[in-house]
Symmetry: D2
Subunit: 363 residues, 4 copies
Amino acid sequence: MAGNSFGTIFKITTWGESHGRAVGAVVDGCPAGLALSVEEVQRELDRRRPGQSFISTQRKEEDRVEILSGTFDGVTTGTPISMLVWNKDAKSSAYDALRDRPRPGHADWPYLARYGIRDHRGGGRASARETVGRVAAGAVAKRLLAVEGISIVGYVLELGGVRADLPDGEDPWCLREAAERNPVRCPDPLAAEEMVRAIEAARAAGDSLGGIAEIVAVGVPPGLGEPVFDKLDGDLARALMGIGAVKAVEIGAGVEAARMRGSEMNDPILPGQEGPRFETNNVGGILGGISTGAPIICRIAVKPTPSISRPQRTVDLSTGEAVEIDIRGRHDPSIPPRIVPVAEAMVALVLADHFLRRKVARV
Amino acid sequence: MAGNSFGTIFKITTWGESHGRAVGAVVDGCPAGLALSVEEVQRELDRRRPGQSFISTQRKEEDRVEILSGTFDGVTTGTPISMLVWNKDAKSSAYDALRDRPRPGHADWPYLARYGIRDHRGGGRASARETVGRVAAGAVAKRLLAVEGISIVGYVLELGGVRADLPDGEDPWCLREAAERNPVRCPDPLAAEEMVRAIEAARAAGDSLGGIAEIVAVGVPPGLGEPVFDKLDGDLARALMGIGAVKAVEIGAGVEAARMRGSEMNDPILPGQEGPRFETNNVGGILGGISTGAPIICRIAVKPTPSISRPQRTVDLSTGEAVEIDIRGRHDPSIPPRIVPVAEAMVALVLADHFLRRKVARV
Amino acid sequence: MAGNSFGTIFKITTWGESHGRAVGAVVDGCPAGLALSVEEVQRELDRRRPGQSFISTQRKEEDRVEILSGTFDGVTTGTPISMLVWNKDAKSSAYDALRDRPRPGHADWPYLARYGIRDHRGGGRASARETVGRVAAGAVAKRLLAVEGISIVGYVLELGGVRADLPDGEDPWCLREAAERNPVRCPDPLAAEEMVRAIEAARAAGDSLGGIAEIVAVGVPPGLGEPVFDKLDGDLARALMGIGAVKAVEIGAGVEAARMRGSEMNDPILPGQEGPRFETNNVGGILGGISTGAPIICRIAVKPTPSISRPQRTVDLSTGEAVEIDIRGRHDPSIPPRIVPVAEAMVALVLADHFLRRKVARV
Amino acid sequence: MAGNSFGTIFKITTWGESHGRAVGAVVDGCPAGLALSVEEVQRELDRRRPGQSFISTQRKEEDRVEILSGTFDGVTTGTPISMLVWNKDAKSSAYDALRDRPRPGHADWPYLARYGIRDHRGGGRASARETVGRVAAGAVAKRLLAVEGISIVGYVLELGGVRADLPDGEDPWCLREAAERNPVRCPDPLAAEEMVRAIEAARAAGDSLGGIAEIVAVGVPPGLGEPVFDKLDGDLARALMGIGAVKAVEIGAGVEAARMRGSEMNDPILPGQEGPRFETNNVGGILGGISTGAPIICRIAVKPTPSISRPQRTVDLSTGEAVEIDIRGRHDPSIPPRIVPVAEAMVALVLADHFLRRKVARV
């Protein structure tokens, strides 16, 4: 109810603030009998970790995860899996000057309007650091899905106006591999170089860039998703729009669907060895909120990092006067590369939940 | 859990199939003491009713709503409000030929894959007729919001490639009034005429058109929305993506945010009489998942109606063979005009719920 | 959240007031593929119907149930099952004099304290008439359980101080059959006669009697129940205590367990053909909140009907003065016989839900 | 869904096993602005701590709680409050011999039947050690209630057949104070001495004793509780029956209500300064599932500790053969004294949740 839990059967609760003592997640509802090692969770955390390359924030966090409950001899027992990461390199003093001065593009003012109190250090709960819990929990979801042959792949499609040129019908895993080879996580190496240059230029100008990431789930069987309010696309939209900085979510053809005709948009149905298959996939693998068996395709539009080093106009809440602020701290000049593992985690959480929900759909 | 409920404190459950006996909704959690008349609910249903103009489906349904519980002397009592609309003009025989032949672009195949059984008449539960319950429940939510000075306005922004030209900063209520004057619900009368012509041409060609609708909520106080998974934008995305045919949801600048720089995107904060206000509204009234006090702006991309009168390729599930089908029935050649009241209802449901949730955010 | 829904996967929502237009229930989450006829639901409703014998209220209600959605060709489709019963013989005028005078033992005052408004006619939502929806929904749950070999049997164990003498280890179905042969639903025919006499005497004295009912579930496999807050016994306790007039819930040895020693209470475990079995069943089939495979045994203590024909002291809320009231209306002098089908329904709802929940407990 | 969360608005999730690394709780939904110190939480944990007297288990756990998130400058911020207690004195080897031999009266067999795997060390998740999280979370709930003038008091009423003799109408706080002065938490000092002797005798005989505890909530305003499934008494019954070893829950007159006549049971309503008040309180402060304003009175029957030092019969699951086991470990010979703070915590959690829920019951 207070919004820190996600999922129904496979359910997570995250907790922790940017500059508090620790951040963590509790996974409740992971089926018993799943082999799970701390290394698998760590691997995903390493992909979102700050300081992994020269283009990301220089905050130093090892982000070593500890699993405190829910497994026995390396296997899940059906009880809650509690995971924790200690905060180490928090420089709270950088935020002192901003205590009464809400930063443009940040959640400072809305939090205060809502709660009347706010942990202003590093964005508190609204910080991207909160996603540590999501990624840790998502790693458990990915593990569950992997056993069922479902995998989730994400990469950057566009950044600072530079668009990747991806071959049609490319295997998502090849895209992923190519993407993980460069710091912007773009599968097109030429575009990736251009994106890096764009980021460096933006940083030099004290500015920041937005971009678009694509997340694809392959191996998803038909029949996942609940009509009419817990549709698979509805739940994905919520999961992805709920990541800080995301301003649009598209499924399949997305916005372009609005400009197509029915005769173009409708994916013809063909006979297949394991039931019907689809000639095209304009719907992105979802019809009526339920998976069709084709790959699930989502895209998110990510706004530029709100923390920029230029002076910005805001209000001092203690005096009510207009002021200019300079944001110090250490920030990513462009978020999409680090948002990819977070978005993958959210897609994994949605699919793991709906995978389990499908088990009770028939007698 | 099975997806027919929506909301947490202000919670609805809808039920009913296209060609079943009736469709309806139960609203649980509407506060006691709200004046509510059946006429107010009826007014919203009339806006989504089939056959309201020459461009919508010719299925004839009066859609008279009955309130069966939850009010006493015209005031809500805090108990569940059960509302029901009988189905009348259902022509089920039109669907007999499609029993084993899933229609492209429809949920036929995924429902079957999920449940192993499917009410094939008119799309069953996946039919747009299900939205009767949403609109009825949304009318109650609108009533609750109206008391608090919050109103929701929707209109068609683009249809069949024709884009409305709307004056910057126009009062949403003027847009709404202009929109309700033409059958495509577009506030720009010239564009509206062009849209109507595009629909007629598409219908003549046995085809259909998509479009974009915009929903704006005004009067929303700051502080609505729950971090981190029940964000206001996340919940809106889910609510809107969960409407049939929607393939993308944008908040504020939406997809365009990906191409902006931080210095353009960040809305400067200015001193205001009732707390901070924002010079621009690129974020669409939401920061960190919580309302800022500025208008909430959402857009949805709607795919073209999947039911077209051209032959389409599919599979006969009883034989496994490829076949061509012709869809008869009575269908809207373009959905956006009738999706507007449904989208407004969903936005109202999200806001009503978060309005109540904010009441318990502070001691 | 507002308390009119019950269950997690197998979830119901009931609605309707005693003297409103109708009462009903929506079942959401019943698996697809279950054969379900309206007659089965009707049969259960007939067991709780008023006027079924000379010892129950003389309100005349046929209570014919209609199934409005969720089935197709007599089989559930996985979509919500909406059921409705019209109210017919409501004599609202009998309640006019009580509008401002809360009846002792009834929910009149607490409803008013909570909502500030109250449908005073016949108890409104707090009326036992609300249980029509529970019994209808419970009939669907019973159907699902029957397919799995689980059945639920209830009967009156004690009434007005008269205790049934039941043979140890008697087959619950024999008890049920014997119980359904008399109006007090007691399997011991001699005790039943005495109970009837006690009821007639109490009625003659303008008074009412309480009693104890026992509900047994047989065929329940081991492994149902969720640690640590959704334990099977916890959920049963909530389900049963939530029936109007119930003041105590016991599982297995119940209150007597407090007076036993560990060496008496512990049920020895024996080798069995299908895993361990228990020599005794003091725990009533539940250990650690999870079913053991032995029969589930619950007992409820039911207070005497609060509506009695003697003058009672209360307050006139319009004047604040002490007054005496006489309750007219038509009431059961003792509730346990008619509470049995309601309690069975609640136990069925809990078990159906946990039966489905167990399906997702392991990979 | 997997049962490790409790509450709706004020919601907790507990995690951790008896012999795992730690146990803890996350409180989500505590309103912002509540002063909360770690000392207050610690005080409640000290009341349930093992080894606090000669009659409780000799496991040595300091049970120092850490608050990892959700407060800032000693005040809650509206974000999740994560609390953790490390496990220290776990002697797992004592349980090795029991790996394949389910203990009578314990959850060993049902857990295995459910999950196919089980952390056998010290009962794993089914251990009473899990209640650390409940008590810590309950301390936060008590703090919230205290601000509103609601307090919760628990004590032992009966133990090993010895019944306390309590003066009618005694102030609950005096009872509590008297109870905290002796190791059995019984407000009647003479009965307390007898109870201690009974425990010592039972321990000498290798046996254990059950008992009855009473929990009273005072200062509860009228209007708390949701009809019809989330009634205050229903939720209390679930909360209390869900504590390990509890086999019966009574509200007010409890089981005795079944033997009363309507004219005795009905509490007459009298004029009062702040609305109606009740001459007697047979209903235990709840009518129709909603608080009346009178004290809430609950009683629980607690079975004798299942871990006894006598040989007991069970099955070796690896061989399928009947065996005798001796349970070593360190155990309380009687649970009621230490169950009191746990039961108080559960009652506090229910009331805190319903207190917040009442805030949204009216416009």
